[in-house]
Amino acid sequence: MLAKRIIACLDVRDGSVVKGVRFEGLRRAGDPAELARRYNTEGIDEIVILDVTATLERRVALTDTIRAVAGEIFIPLAVGGGIRSEADARTAVDAGADKVSLNTAALADPSLITTIAERFGSQAVIVAIDARREGDRFSVFVRSGQHATERDAVEWAREATDRGAGEILLTSMDRDGTRDGFDCVLTAAVSSAVPIPVIASGGAGTFEHFEEVFTRGQADAALAASVFHYSEHSVADLKRHLAGRGVPVRQ
């Protein structure tokens, strides 16, 4: 049976993981390759490197980060943040990324999804959608959630799929950082509307939250950052919990 995936997100700035990592026993707290190695040992299913570097010239560090992680972790690796062109995607893929995640640039020019899918295959294209509840609908935001758009999340997910996206990374801006649980209504609305996998993101705090988003939320994968960075529990503990509740996971 296809396993539900647990994905760790590393927010990387200038080559270091940010969001305050408190792992003990790491030679350099915040070293992406070292964190990725630890997650891999614990049984993480996939790694996302999200580049939050502010300036263009410093983005060179991202390539080194991708190379360092991809050189020793042999599980799927996605890279997002600032990928605006086929050339950006090419740079990430050449450094070792298996997938690139498009957000603002895809909304500005949806044909970019098709261009990159035709070049690298749909399996290499994730469209990231940041959504916030507005009444009974979910509105799409861009530029790290700072700007509202006219787009509806479900409708945009459908269009992204039609244009060649292989997966949707769906972040609830209402829940992001709250640790109050994933937005299962949002996740189920998008997941039931598209034939491609949906990765739920935003709000992970407890093992029960993961269980909920895989059942009620119909998510195919769940992504979290700080819950793994801060938690005393490991990815392995989370998977044992899920398996005990009948959620199929890779152990």
């Binding site: 396993a3 539900k4 042999f74 298996d98």
Partner: protein, 219 residues
């Protein structure tokens, strides 16, 4: 050990190259089919549309066939597995290598064993099949030496190969398809060993280990 990684433009080779290198292979991408003679093993990777394998028709196809007939081990990965068959419904005009009888077909995306309450309709599954799924080892295999029945590996594909007498592992996603096959010193996997963690690296090591043995009947 010199391994030829065939680059026919089907997606990204960086991951396969990194993983093979990590298990000790000296990986090259020969520019022409004639150069295949100088390699100890061949890897046919690939992800994407079966159309891409059209590049392998002609001299590549003939040289690869001749090389494996001489006992040189070959590993097909994903599209590289499907190419060993006669063809695929994804691109009916493109001929496969034809080493294995049969055609690859699109995953149906229906789970007949799991019906929705109320409507009684079979559950719809998402296509492509993306993620970690389990291997059922169905016959002895050199590729899966040391790999447990039920081990999880990483898939991303919409078309799949039929279960035949050469199938060594099956996987179920609605339907049951061939997730690995072996015929002599040719092995192939539908999943991505280069992305399947320690299990995947073990499989790549097993492939390289086979390369170090002599083909049966050579001596």
């Amino acid at each position: 050990m010199r391994v030829a990684l065939i680059d026919y433009g089907a997606g990204n080779l960086a991951s396969v190259r990194k993983a093979l290198t990590a298990v000790g292979a000296d990986v090259h991408t020969p520019a022409t089919a004639d150069a295949l003679d100088t390699f100890a093993a061949i890897v046919v990777p690939g992800v994407g549309h079966f159309n891409a394998t059209a590049t392998l028709q002609g001299s590549w196809r003939d040289r690869i066939r001749a090389t494996i007939d001489q006992g040189v081990p070959l590993l097909g990965i994903c599209l590289g597995l499907q190419w060993l068959f006669e063809g695929s419904a994804e691109a009916p005009d493109v001929r496969g290598l034809g080493l294995v009888d049969g055609q690859c077909t699109r995953l149906s995306g229906t789970d007949e064993g799991n019906r929705t309450a109320g409507t009684g309709r079979a559950t719809r599954l998402k296509i492509p099949h993306v993620g970690w799924n389990a291997l059922r080892l169905v016959r002895p295999s050199w590729l899966f030496d040391g790999v447990s029945d039920g081990a999880y590996v990483y898939f991303t594909h919409a078309y799949a190969a039929p279960v035949t007498e050469v199938t060594t592992a099956t996987t179920t996603y609605g339907e049951t398809f061939a997730s690995a096959l072996e015929r002599g010193r040719v092995g192939a996997v539908q999943f991505h060993p280069e992305k399947s963690g320690d299990v995947g690296l073990r499989i790549l090591r097993n492939f390289l280990a086979l390369t170090e043995t002599t083909a049966a009947g050579d001596s």
